[in-house]
Symmetry: C2
Subunit: 203 residues, 2 copies
Amino acid sequence: MEISTEDKILLAAKEVFTQKGYAAARMQEIADAAGINKGLLHYYFKNKEKLFLSVFHDALDNFIPRVNQVLEADLSLEEKIAGFIGEYMEVLIKNPHLPAFVLGEMNQHPQEFTRSILSRKELPNPMKLMMQLQMEADAGRIRSVSPLHLWMNIVSMCVLPFAARPMFQAVMGINDAQYWDFMRSRKKEVTDFILHAIRNENN
Amino acid sequence: MEISTEDKILLAAKEVFTQKGYAAARMQEIADAAGINKGLLHYYFKNKEKLFLSVFHDALDNFIPRVNQVLEADLSLEEKIAGFIGEYMEVLIKNPHLPAFVLGEMNQHPQEFTRSILSRKELPNPMKLMMQLQMEADAGRIRSVSPLHLWMNIVSMCVLPFAARPMFQAVMGINDAQYWDFMRSRKKEVTDFILHAIRNENN
DNA sequence: GTCTATAGGTAGATAGAC
DNA sequence: GTCTATCTACCTATAGAC
């Protein structure tokens, strides 16, 4: 079972684009990484932009459905928060360059990104989680917090440590092994942190 | 009191570099934005990389001392956390493109970034805050939490909402005014969130 | 489908007049 | 200090043989 030329290209392109960004990526380098030549690259993907969009959308399509599955599941609030953080960080541990890549590119082309993301089949959908938060707060089972801020807080704590890795390691003086130890311990740490933050003080 | 040509260039370069990134930025566009021509650009800054580094380091030098001043001040834990978040977000509100720019560039050139940041006069210095956290936890005045994780949590909640703005607005369907309302309300919201998360349950 | 060779355009950098 | 003109290199994309 061979790996098709198209998949070899997509794999190589993912590597180069995520590490260098669209503008600095070179078609030659992608061809080299895929073990083919530039001509063949244009045979499969008419131009650089089309190849980039394939990589970019593949990344989102692998990501969004997985977290949505947790967000839309029939789980208690605590289970859902723990499940979301676990799933989200699991995907990022396997794709550690994804956050900086997506953040960088979408800020360099915000209007194209917005058009493009809104036309996708699936968007991140935190609505059910936010409704649950509101209900639990109304029922007095958790502290009353802004669902939108809480959602932003959860995503921030999951995503930023990947994107800020070079600064974090430099400032803290930690090596790669220590970084990954820290990241692995984060799933539980962030979950506990959030559950404590929304605990009702009257319990 | 005129603005010097060099400052006009730096200002224009900051705009173009922070929005397009190093690789996609064009010397021609910077020259146009500064109201001069390409030749003069090379007269003041020998090449593109030197111009970029001036912008990049100016950004960090404007940023790091301001937050360090709070981090190293003689304040109670609660005041320090509130002060840090307030100062950090205040700077970012005035430079909203900075986070995605810095995150993107440092991930595209991690080794150069690491060399460069370590040779700067001043690094972000959360040590005193982290010692305070440890002491308060040992004294039982706050819940025992990992200082390193807490530090990462605070920074994450401050920084990511700027870098993730296009995704956030698209997914939530909110306009620019609503986005800025949200961001302005975040200083207090994040501070409260953290203070609740580290509250000691036995109080 | 896969390759080589090259066209065509663009951008960083320099030379030199004023 | 500031400008115009130009050189040189590189990179995307295409043409065309196999």
